[in-house]
Symmetry: C2
Subunit: 324 residues, 2 copies
Amino acid sequence: MEQSFSPFGLRAQALFRALQSRLCEELAELDGKARFWLDAWDRPGGGGGHTAVIADGDLFEKGGVSWSAVWGEFDDETTARLERSQPAETPGRQFFATGISIVLHPRNPYVPTVHANFRYLERGADSWFGGGSDLTPVYPTLEDAKAFHAAWKAVCDRHDPSYYPRFKRWCDEYFYLPHRDETRGVGGIFFDDLRGDQNALLDFVRDCGETFMPAYAPIAQRRRSQPYGDTERYFQQLRRGRYAEFNLVYDRGTAFGLATRGRTESILMSLPPVARWEYGWQPTPGSREEQALKFFTPRDWLSEREGETPSGRSPHRPNELTST
Amino acid sequence: MEQSFSPFGLRAQALFRALQSRLCEELAELDGKARFWLDAWDRPGGGGGHTAVIADGDLFEKGGVSWSAVWGEFDDETTARLERSQPAETPGRQFFATGISIVLHPRNPYVPTVHANFRYLERGADSWFGGGSDLTPVYPTLEDAKAFHAAWKAVCDRHDPSYYPRFKRWCDEYFYLPHRDETRGVGGIFFDDLRGDQNALLDFVRDCGETFMPAYAPIAQRRRSQPYGDTERYFQQLRRGRYAEFNLVYDRGTAFGLATRGRTESILMSLPPVARWEYGWQPTPGSREEQALKFFTPRDWLSEREGETPSGRSPHRPNELTST
């Protein structure tokens, strides 16, 4: 066998693959109408993946759960690129990467888009984990933001009390559009370069994988029957424009994937079904759309209380925001 | 007056501004229903612009003609970025930039999207012109591609017989999506770093500005009444997804503008009104959509004849492609 992945790498890829199978079953059950179809692919340089996609469901307009395990040798250009962005102590060219990526764009504008990604990487003698999960509502509510963060804080706290505060801040910083001065959504957790006891880290990432459904499904269930019309769909499409902007301009995984000629369809699986851009769009003063925009700034959701004002933005009253 | 722009810079900005006024009039007349509205803005570091936008017209679903004249001093980060991409002989920090940018997204999928940009820049003691115009049809025809290229070749040839072949190839190379292995459209001309006799170059750019309407309007008129349905709109939105991908991932002007904290709405004016992404979309064999995709590869449109096969793609018959 030409490939040289480690026994631990094998365990990680098996974990992510099992997680993909289970999530596809559970998400299809949650949707209630559409099923995932599996697109298996090989990577010419080594490895491959299974991209599972769902479309035109009762809940999900477009989504995917992608698993991959790829390996090989970085070429000169990629090695130079990596050295610029993250100089390695052991700058080997041999790499192994396995992970799972989940992006779900619901049709109902009241149901938030959700994203999660967990990955394990080896480069030369070095290895590390990365991942996270974040929520991107169109019409955010304090109730949903609190519930989502509480779920991720709980899993973090079970493994390391320093995780949640660090990973929550990291998420706010990562999913940020400087040209809009707004976060992509209400955040969650994000981590990278996580090194240490590999078994303990794999346990943490397994726990995270098992947290995804309990963190998201109750929010989707709570909002999916809420009636909406053209106004809400229009605003949803504008917000999806911002989602596309983030993924195409700033997301490091997307940039790396496209620059290294990864598999385009799997890399861009995250893009929304329909996105809209309108020059100089502004919300009507006092509208729910104006209220929504106030959520797209880093906030400590779990300690957020009625009447508090997020720093740097105009005052708002969270109790109004949560009423629908 | 704090600002130090040259007498020539003043002439260039006046030319572009006059061109903007005239184009807005002529394009509104071509549209027949909507009018441009002007959004004037100041740039905190110096200068400003007039962004003229049109929406929900009879012909144009979304479009803009943007003029700007900005000046100032590059900060450390921008200077370093510029030195990496284009090391200057006289790496001054003082800059002056003026230009006009045109992007029009018609509603009817048979009418091509069109883009043009002309600009004059000074940096320290250095100065140069850049610009070009390219056509992005959803359902390309050989007739339109030939007519568009013929117009730009004519204006190029009046100034320098080497221009069209160089600028045509440059356009094909610039408006290219490596991750899709396709060009953004059927090309046109693109040039940058054009230095020499400033008056002669300004004449060339003025001539280009005057070529825009004669190059585009006949194509729009020819196609605007062609009936279309949901299939054509769907394909148009998928193609607009590619347009958004190019502009957000590869366009140097967009990247530079966002990285240097330019005016977001003016930078992203070029984005389509509505874009769509579908995982793994493939055209139906034998469909007009499949034929359309064969145009998105560099071809010498002006010498293209019936029965010829573009290199690197599957065979096609251009006479079928031009029939509608």
